[in-house]
Symmetry: C2
Subunit: 368 residues, 2 copies
């Protein structure tokens, strides 16, 4: 068993990573002191529910817990205020009180939605994450939870740390290949921002990771979570350093918004964004090898690195203006200085960003 401790003072929590943890969920809830007098709410989606919901419910009931479940549709569209209200209805009708907990069984969407329910139900109750995707290794560290506003992604949210995270590697075995690649995109990102050795390890182990080899994947998730936990523990509320985790996200979020949530998987969109950030880095004088190595790494995982023709550059620029990384009139980007090192640059000229988007459409060839 691998354990990553996220250090956040009195809000610290562990991430347990191993095969078969779902079948021990009740024991972990007991160990973490969750009361059996108050019902639990399990939030999951219609892709995950058929595989794991019954197993989790039975496991918890065997331990004497009462549960109610909310099953939402799979996909980003479930991070809406309307679905949020539906989940709240299940919580209220299920009799959840202030000693209850919300369990997120699923990927990043379920984690974000369930987390915001936990953060705001009766002004905040306990939260447990049981991720079933690789991508969720990212969202399970740091307590950022949110739902979407029709005008912008993740606009309505909170910082709400879980009691613990239970990462059962067996639940990843049923992921479709496209979700595997997209999930590994955030893992790669953690190497790119802070750990050149890990980035190199990722590239060398691309085949095993894509094939979901448990030992390799366990190490990758542990390392990815650890890098993120280290950053978050230094900046819980995103005052400064934590922004480096947004490598690729300024362009990535805008692509998701313009393409329509769900057209691009999140990991795919930030892969294009990371390619864009590398292009921007070269434009600002960094060595061309930053771009070349970033591209080689993303391509080893079959991740997209170009903008499809149907996406309008003006719309992407407009969407970025609404993004949280746009602050006090300047465009803020995370720019790679080298593999494993990034800078937060807050005065990027709009025209340079526009040029990079055009080059991304042409495959980035123009600049290197």
């Amino acid at each position: 068993m691998r354990t990553v401790q996220v250090e956040l003072g009195e809000r610290s929590y562990p991430i347990y990573i191993d095969s078969g943890l779902l079948g021990q969920a009740g024991t972990y809830l007991e160990q973490h002191g969750l009361t059996k007098k108050s019902p639990l709410l399990i939030v999951t989606d219609d892709h995950v529910a058929p595989h794991y919901l019954g197993k989790l419910e039975a496991q918890l009931q065997d331990h004497g817990y009462t549960t109610v479940s909310a099953i939402v549709k799979s996909g980003e569209a479930s991070k809406s205020l309307s679905v949020f209200e539906d989940v709240m209805t299940v919580a209220i009708k299920g009799g959840l009180d202030r000693s209850s907990a919300v369990l997120a069984l699923g990927g990043g969407v379920v984690g974000d939605l369930a987390g915001f329910v936990a953060a705001s139900y009766m002004r905040g109750i306990k939260f447990v994450q049981i991720p079933t995707t690789i991508l969720a290794h990212d969202s399970s560290v740091g307590g950022k939870v949110a739902i979407n506003h029709p005008l912008a992604k993740n606009m309505i949210g909170a910082f709400h740390q879980p009691e613990f995270v239970l990462y059962d590697l067996e639940t990843l075995q049923s992921l479709p290949p496209r979700d595997v690649s997209a999930g590994l995109s955030e893992m790669i990102k953690h190497g790119l921002i802070q750990d050149a050795d890990f980035a190199k390890w990722c590239k060398e182990h691309a085949q095993q990771l894509l094939a979901l080899d448990a030992e390799t994947l366990g190490y990758g998730l542990e390392r990815g979570c650890s890098i993120k936990a280290h950053v978050v523990s230094q900046d819980e509320r995103e005052g400064g350093l934590r922004a480096i985790l947004n490598l690729g996200h300024t362009i990535g979020h805008a692509i998701e918004a313009v393409a329509g949530y769900g057209e691009f998987l999140h990991g795919e969109a930030i892969s294009v964004g990371m390619a864009g950030s590398a292009l921007l880095a070269v434009k600002m004088g960094r060595d061309a090898s930053v771009y070349e190595e970033t591209m080689a790494l993303l391509q080893a995982f079959h991740l997209p690195t170009t903008l499809p023709a149907y996406l309008n550059v003006d719309e992407i620029m407009a969407a970025m203006m609404h993004d949280k990384k746009f602050k006090e009139g300047f465009m803020v980007f995370i720019i790679p200085d080298a593999i494993g090192a990034v800078s937060i640059v807050s005065d990027i000229p709009e025209q340079d960003v526009r040029d990079v988007l055009e080059q991304l459409r042409d495959g980035g060839e123009a600049i290197v």
Copy 2:
């Protein structure tokens, strides 16, 4: 000028109480370090806006601030997810960023709604309260912000402390008499829970308070805020002591929910609830004088102390089951031990509560 400091460590903030503060809002924002580079959002309602919005906007613009405003309908119905989304839309279109602040210009409804917008916009931005009702002296202390779910009041919320509170006594002069009485209900409550001398002072000054005498009202608000601030500073997240502030609220919230939000003013509903808590106290063996003095105090302010016949006791009981004060299978009530002293009692039998509701319908005569 009177100032009450709410002591909450790094989240401490002052409440400024005086006549004419609205005309100095820009100066206060500057003193508290709010940036002029990011737009401010003013949230207010259609009753308050015609009187004070233009004045506030002009004052802030004179100081170099950019503002956008969201005007919601007056009344509890505006604490809905739908209105919340509309206000978020104004914030996004207005270009609010992480350095922006939300200003609540209005009563408790506007404060709760605007506060939850501030708590959740981009996972939390700054918040300033400019109360225009007496009732808001209560909600402006302690950072509890929330909106309603169709099934239960204040079910969706957060703890989000303001930067400061600006209490302009002049804005209270236009309040209708019914709102004045209802607002003073929470002030009386602060005397009842912790300060017998202040309860006595309230009764002796009922006429001046109802007539909105500025000096008397200033003192009453200062004292009410101070009592609440003292309780909240010992228990910010409502783990224990803070529950005493809920005197009258278990029954009061249920009345509001069953009558339909807006039929009873909040202060009126908790007045009936305080009468009910006093009846319950006598039922549990406290001296009958607790009930008699509570009734005399509430009646001095022309506040209701009985349940109207059109309210169904079963429905009120059911609504209480959904309330946050219902924990792990027991009914929790705040029970007066004497004027100025209360206990949190967590094992009240359901039948006793039902009996008290029936007696409240008959004016409480049956018990004393």
